[in-house]
Amino acid sequence: MKRIMTVDDSATVRQMVGFTLKDAGYEVVEAEDGVDALEKLKKTPVHMLITDLNMPRLDGVGLIREVRKDPANRFIPIIMLTTESQESKKLEGKQAGASGWIVKPFKPEQLLGVVKMVLV
């Protein structure tokens, strides 16, 4: 079973992403922000990461940079959750090593579409 980590300071988003992915047969690890995510990644390796960009402590772009530094996670797909107004953030995230993005708000099937596409 593939394991996916969802990182978001909003419980609503974590819950929705978690529901959708578990329903589709993925294992889900939740993290509240970048720092939390990095800690959990040390203990639990994942196949894919879905992260919000605006978060306290360590934001999404920072998290992506850190994750890519770790040889174990150099090549995992990372999807950013962005909003339409965050075009510059999106670019920053891509440069940091994100694989793709989903624009909030999104529907469960959009999320699943992207996950299934990117996760080989």
Binding site: A11, T12, V13, Q15, S85, V118
Partner: protein, 695 residues
């Protein structure tokens, strides 16, 4: 109402709103604390994002407005003021009410609108930067396209693409899901093991994809990598009309080879792929990839042609075949005529058999020349599009009966007249969008092009829902031009047909498209030369309809064989309405005017015997064939009507091409020649002659 996501959002937002309130109050104390501003911004951003996901669209949209203000604050474009904080606090309270669903929703909406306006006044400039948060559906999109197209997709990913968590296999897998896909990897750039870096992507790909999904669906696959990818998508044509591109041409088109190099190598006449590789002009994998494309295109061509299973024949060959059938029909008629007097039953049987087969063969051969008119129709789509742009009118073309079949020659010759009619409809017929709206019509005008079979005819209609013809204006213009007498009482139909006269135009202005009065008479001439007629119907304010009635084929027609003084003539049966007898008493009563009474209607007639100056004994009873010419009834007096005759039309020689009143000739069963009468031409000639006589 126990939606877990909504509940989670309510719980979460209660906390966030409390934090927001605290943050705003703290900010009132220390007005330029970036940390607090950042926190407020983030809270608003979260409420906006989560609210939208949990189905609180109004909350999300309103939070967006507040967030937009704080973005300005965060970027240092806007100073925090007491006023701003008060408004934001009010907005926070409203957000809370919205989430908890307190109070009247219409009142809340009104409040939200007022607060939004108040907040917008804080923007440093007055430009409209606010974008409302919309639910974007661009990942899941429905597409409706059924025709399959062949695409060549070449992509080369950035070498560091693996470090972005992108596995190129997912791109290929996604493309494969769109349709039939051949994948060719170009591996030339993989270096030797010493130089090889396992984290780099050295391979690029060529794909040949047969899909009905459309170009956008293909582009969507590459959406996450478009900045890290050289992507080239070309549609490959596999029309039956075109030969599949040769290998060299494919390489040139793809930019792998210059056409000069190709020409140079081609002149050596060896197997092109091997040669190009030998000469190091292209790599062998490029050639392999191009070969796959060639194979795929050929395969599609083969499939296409297998689907319809047709062969292409030069139309001259068909013309020859039709000529031969014509001869056969003639010979067969002779056979039947000779056998008719015989008593031997065996010979009669054979003759009947031959007759049956001849007719079947004739029908089949004429059928081969039939083409659906749809190909011509589809050309007009572009015309309508261009014209509507040029004239600033919005026009849609609706076509019906594209499958209606018509003789190829007829279709070819019909093209120009139809173009002219459509131009006229759009330029003169249809009003401008504003005029249409005032008239209570949809602002988009419609041109309706249709074709239907009606017996041995095809009726093609060009119809618009525009302004219609003004019968009175036509009458005035007609009188002014001397085309009709001032006191004439003409019906609408006759008035409408005035526009088919040379030089007739009521257009107030001449546009580049139409209005010079040149053309409608040419349309009529062309239609008549195809043995067709044109009729106009119109209702003022509701539109105009041009109906063109054409015979199915030009080569063989049903004719009415008549005899005058021992000579045979053929009239196209399609024009004939009835035959009546003409006795001497009627002629005498008419006092030298050629008029007959047909059930109360007076019909003028032409004495063909006089017209052609044929002498010889006059029969007791003559016959008048009443025909319809351009909407009018005209009679032609002949000695006697022989009967129906399958007429194979033979063109008159060059010498007789300009002969008026005769449109061709045919050979009868006994080998004699009968002339085919051009009834419209004859009645005009006769009219002119009469005028000259009376003048």
């Amino acid at each position: 109402m126990s939606d877990p996501v909504r509940d989670a959002f309510r719980e979460e937002s209660a906390e966030l709103l409390l934090d927001l309130e605290n943050g705003l109050l703290e900010l009132a104390e220390s007005q330029d604390d970036d940390e607090i501003i950042g926190r407020i911004f983030r809270i608003l951003h979260t409420i906006k994002g989560s609210g939208g996901m949990a189905g609180f669209e109004d909350v999300s949209a309103f939070a967006h407005e507040i967030e937009a203000i704080f973005e300005e604050v965060r970027n240092g474009h806007l100073e925090v003021s007491r006023e701003l904080l008060n408004q934001t606090l009010a907005a926070r309270d409203l957000l809370k009410a919205m989430i908890d669903d307190e109070g009247e929703s219409s009142l809340r909406q009104e409040e939200a609108r007022q607060l939004t306006e108040a907040l917008r006044t804080f923007f440093p400039q007055t430009n409209e930067t606010a974008i409302s948060a919309e639910v974007s559906d661009d990942v899941v999109e429905s597409r409706e396209e059924t025709t399959e197209r062949l695409y060549r997709i070449r992509f080369r990913l950035a070498p560091d693409i693996f470090c972005k968590g992108v596995n190129p296999l997912y791109l290929i897998r996604e493309l494969k899901q769109l349709g039939r896909c051949r994948v060719i990897a170009q591996v030339d750039e993989i270096p030797t093991l010493q130089e090889f870096d396992a984290e780099q992507c050295y391979v690029c790909w060529d794909l040949i994809l047969l899909t009905s999904a459309g170009l956008n669906a293909i582009r969507d696959v590459f959406i996450f990598v478009e900045d890290d990818c050289e992507l080239q998508i070309d549609e490959l044509s596999f029309d039956d009309d075109e030969d599949p591109n040769r290998l060299g041409e494919i390489l040139v088109e793809r930019g792998d080879l210059s056409s000069d190099d190709l020409q140079a190598v081609l002149s050596e006449r060896h197997k092109i792929g091997e040669l190009l590789v030998e000469k190091n002009l292209v790599s062998s994998s490029s050639v392999d990839s191009a070969l796959v494309e060639q194979e795929e295109v050929r395969l599609q061509q083969k499939r296409n042609s297998a689907g319809t299973s047709s062969i292409r024949v030069r139309s001259e060959k068909l013309d020859l075949l039709v000529d031969l059938i014509g001869e056969l029909v003639t010979v067969q008629a002779r056979l039947s005529q000779n056998v008719a007097g015989q008593t031997e039953s065996e010979l009669c049987n054979i003759s009947e058999e031959v007759e049956r087969l001849t007719w079947a063969l004739r029908d089949q051969v004429l059928n081969i020349r039939m083409l659906p008119i749809g190909t011509t129709f589809s050309k007009f789509k572009r015309l309508v599009h261009d014209l509507s742009q040029e004239l600033g009118k919005s026009v849609q073309l609706v076509t019906d009966g594209a499958e209606t079949e018509l003789d190829k020659t007829v279709i070819d010759r019909l093209h120009d007249p139809l173009v002219h009619l459509i131009r006229n409809c759009i330029d003169h017929g249809l009003e401008s969008p504003q005029q249409r709206q005032t008239a209570g019509k949809p602002s988009m005008g419609t041109v309706h092009l249709s074709a239907i079979h009606a017996g041995a005819y095809v009726i093609i209609k060009v119809e618009d829902d525009g302004i219609g013809l003004d019968a009175e204006a036509l009458r005035e213009k007609g009188i002014a031009m001397g085309l009709i007498p001032a006191n004439s009482e003409l019906g609408d139909k006759e008035l409408f047909s005035l526009i088919l006269q040379p030089g007739f135009s009521t257009a107030k202005s001449v546009t580049s498209v139409s209005g010079r009065g040149v053309g409608m008479d040419v349309v009529r001439q062309e239609v008549e030369s195809l043995r067709g007629t044109i009729e106009i119907e119109s209702r003022e304010g509701a539109g105009t309809c041009f109906s063109i009635k054409l015979p199915l084929t030009l080569a063989i027609i049903d004719g009415l064989l008549v005899n005058i003084g021992g000579d045979n003539f053929v009239m196209p049966l399609s024009a004939v309405e009835e035959c009546i007898e003409l006795d001497h008493r009627t002629v005498e009563k008419a006092h030298g005017r050629n008029l007959v009474h047909v059930r109360g209607e007076i019909v003028p007639y032409v004495r063909l015997r006089d017209f052609f100056e044929i002498h010889g004994p006059l029969p007791e009873l003559e016959q008048v064939v009443i025909v319809e010419v351009e909407g009018e009834r005209v009679g032609f007096a002949v000695d006697y009507v022989v009967g129906e005759h399958q007429t194979v039309i033979k063109a008159l020689g060059k010498l007789y091409r300009h002969l008026q009143g005769i449109s061709g000739a045919t050979i009868l069963g006994d080998g004699t020649v009968a002339l085919i009468l051009d009834l419209a031409g004859l009645s005009k000639l006769a009219e002119r002659e009469e005028k000259e006589l009376s003048a």
